[in-house]
Point group: C2
Chain length 501, copies 2
């Protein structure tokens, strides 16, 4: 065949770093988000949905480098068309906080103040894709804009604990750890850390979980040799300068009161530090009044949170149970949510300070945790009842059977493939996880009956019994056509009971 | 003040053509989509969520013009970075069908066949924004890929009717009209329309609703003068050539059988036309077996549907009730959903024909219709109970009151703004649509009571009674602190009862 005119076919691939979610991946995430939204709503937070696209200018963070404004974000320039495109640079949002800051500024005269809002939806990051790292993922945020009160932080922290429990993480399996960026700044002040060193110090502190006290001490001063033998340069503080920072990191005491006492010592004479400790003390009191005991929330100075924009309380929720990693080693599941106070984001637009605080839940990680604990998924009978097609001229009858099952609230469908090979229909039902196949050939139609095949029971019998026994097909029963719904219900009920027992 | 160093502030605006959805805008849409998803699920359709970003190559349609591949879509080129960006052109999806075709091709060996899926989510169009026209909006689709059977079309059409009713459109307020692109092709064949004229003929037929039989006759032949007096060029068919097309358009009879009879005559000797009529007849039979009477679905040849990719049955759901337009004139609400059979979309990728059929619901239009009919929104008491702050040192107590209400399932929040001015707190509660304000000053705290202010009743009294009567504040009751939840519940119940009566 001469194929020089054959047109090149497009590749059927999602772009690199993007993925598709099928069936339960979608519905289980949705069910989890619904439960979290209910908690947010009950706390007086209103839903907000901004669009996926913002101006690069409003998103901020990426402005300076005009030649390459899309580092980290997906960005493009609109064509400048009279009456149409503005020539603006547009970008996909990289989180839900930047759009909230824009909304809080744009609608500042219309929104209630304080404004409590929650938002759930996809965000996009133009990062190098990797295993398990995707360029579109879900976030689920709640924020209070316009309140400087530590009560706003305490409320968000308590609500996070409630949300995790509503999602299916029982008390005892998570811990929210709370710290204060102000306290940290006070400690840096007390330690005499120069402004140009503070970023390096923050990055070092963030490694505390990994390298411990001695590791951080070395990294803050002269440096250390890592496991591979490589020399890691230190920040260059003196031992005396590093001491307050180490005191800070290790200041978690037996209870919040002890921790707060240690922090008061660690910030020395720094006013910012004293203010931060006082705020943490208020937050601790309010959390106690809300019934948030140390099994749920603790003050823990070793939490830093990477983002530069935090200005007060910061917190992180960790799951404390162990899971097996890809190499079969036990490890703690780790962080699934975090947040804190950011008083500068709205000011970018308005020039006026607008205090704000909020939390972001990592939706995919939390869902993975619920799956790891067997708390979602695996529902038996999630597949539809399949009405098979024995006689293609009677499609209307088969569709009507499915419709009868729908009207009874039962998930069901008629087989719509080529009905010639009945074995293919049963294979299809198997692939769909179908609990029951309905069969009606000419003989059954004449007698006014249907065959109901319990596919789950059939599969178990096929696995457990001999071929002869299986051939006896005890998993198949005949029912009058008029009893279609009742017969299917009986099988579904039996299987549901079996799944519970 | 010297302000030469003042940095330029970013504009706090959503990009042109994009909008934000607040509160009930989000939750009412979500509730509607949840009801529709339940119908889709019950019919055996599985959820699918693809990402917002696809390769321009996979999306198709926009390929030829390489210099400007983003006409109609938002597109950008990835940087070609070793191990990172591919240099591909990426774009935001403009509908949910193109990504489905890509998924059906990419996962053809894993997906059940036929594959029934539903999808809900935002799509993006790079169009000139206008009043009420946005560049991001929701679609809500269901499609069956891999079945050529008219039963698949009938199932989708019946499911659309069920979905509209589940969303809140009662029977009698909508009508699904069904036609066939194959029948239309048969008519064009019978009419001897040249291939290069068929697009112009399709566009003309699409105007039938507006210009009527005589208008279409004129436009198909020599042209006509429109209302403004401008000459509109005709397609140039002869009267004899236009006759079968006019016969087709006006072939809707008193019932489906009569319509099908007229269509048989209209397609003359065209094989494609005869096949189309036979398929429509099967669809009509199956819809009848599904109990879809002429109050819900009819065969109506005047439905064409613009999209070029349809290859068989096409259909459209219209809302038949009248609403007032922006000028106060009565008009029918019009189309809220449409779809049809498209057998070519997956073939683009695989080279093999994969028959498919589906429906897309215009989410924003359907929601607007429900609002116009008063079937969503306006729930009294959707705002939270506001626990006011009389004594800022007792924030922990106020937070605890809100938490008690949360635990009882009542939407509530403590006031987090500056509590100095109590009037501002009540204004805030008013803005939030709060049903009840909880008040506890030092006096009440000492006596172990709370004041509960019925804000809805208070507002009615303020509107209806004299200032002196209002000052008597019958809308405020005192309750023991221990009865906080019971007292709030009593007021909410009274208001709920009032809203119903």
């Amino acid at each position: 065949m001469h194929d020089s005119h054959k047109t090149r076919r497009p590749k059927a691939d999602a772009p690199k770093g993007f993925r598709d979610y099928f069936g339960a991946d979608v519905t289980e995430r949705k069910a989890m988000l619904d439960r979290i939204a209910e908690v947010y709503d009950r706390h007086g937070f209103d839903a907000l949905e901004t669009s996926g696209v913002e101006t690069v200018e409003a998103l901020g963070k990426f402005l300076p480098d005009v030649d390459r404004p899309n580092a980290g974000v997906f960005a493009w320039q609109e064509e400048a068309v009279p009456g149409g495109g503005s020539g603006d640079w547009l970008a996909l949002r990289y989180d839900l906080t930047a759009p909230l800051a824009r909304v809080a500024a744009q609608f500042r005269n219309d929104l209630p103040s304080p404004y409590r809002r929650y938002a759930m939806g996809p965000v996009w990051r133009n990062e190098k894709p990797g295993p398990g790292r995707f360029r579109q993922f879900y976030q689920c945020d709640a924020d209070t804009v316009g309140s400087a009160s530590p009560a706003a932080d305490a409320e968000i922290i308590a609500m996070l604990a409630d949300a995790l429990e509503a999602a299916g993480i029982p008390r005892g399996d998570y811990l929210v750890r709370v710290n204060s960026r102000k306290v940290l700044n006070g400690v840096l002040e007390a330690a005499g850390v120069a402004a140009d060193q503070s970023d390096a110090v923050l990055r070092t502190i963030d490694k505390f979980d990994k390298v411990g006290v001695d590791g951080v001490r070395a990294l803050l001063t002269a440096g250390r040799r890592d496991e591979s033998g490589a020399e890691i340069e230190g920040v260059g503080l003196s031992d005396v300068g590093a001491a307050p920072i180490l005191a800070f990191l290790t200041s978690r005491g037996g209870d919040n009161a002890a921790t707060l006492g240690n922090l008061r010592a660690a910030v020395g004479t720094s006013d910012a530090g004293a203010e931060g400790v006082a705020e943490l003390a208020q937050i601790a009191d309010m959390l106690a009044a809300l019934g948030m005991g140390p099994d749920r929330v603790v003050i823990d100075p070793s939490i830093v949170r990477g983002l530069g924009y935090y200005t007060g309380a910061v917190f992180e929720a960790e799951l404390t149970f162990e899971v097996l990693d890809e190499k079969g080693r036990k490890r703690q599941f780790g962080s699934v949510a975090g947040g804190g106070r950011y008083d500068g984001l709205v000011e970018r637009f308005t020039g006026q300070k607008v205090p704000a605080t909020g939390v972001s839940i990592g939706v995919d990680r939390l869902l993975a945790a619920l799956r790891a604990k067997g708390r979602v998924g695996g529902q038996a009978g999630a597949g539809p009842v399949v009405v098979t097609v024995m006689d293609r001229d009677r499609m209307a009858d088969y569709l009507a059977m499915a419709a009868e099952l729908h009207a009874a609230g039962i998930r069901a469908e008629a087989y719509l493939g080529n009905p010639k090979n009945f074995g293919n229909q049963l294979k299809y039902a198997d692939k769909r996880g179908s609990p029951v196949a309905v069969i009606q050939g000419a003989d059954e139609a004449a007698r006014g009956v249907v065959q109901l095949k319990d596919l789950a029971l059939g599969a178990r019998l096929a696995a457990e019994v001999s071929h002869d026994e299986w051939k006896a097909q005890p998993a198949q029963v005949e029912a009058p056509r008029a009893d279609l719904v009742a017969g299917v219900r009986a099988i579904l009920a039996r299987e549901a009971q079996r799944a519970q027992s």
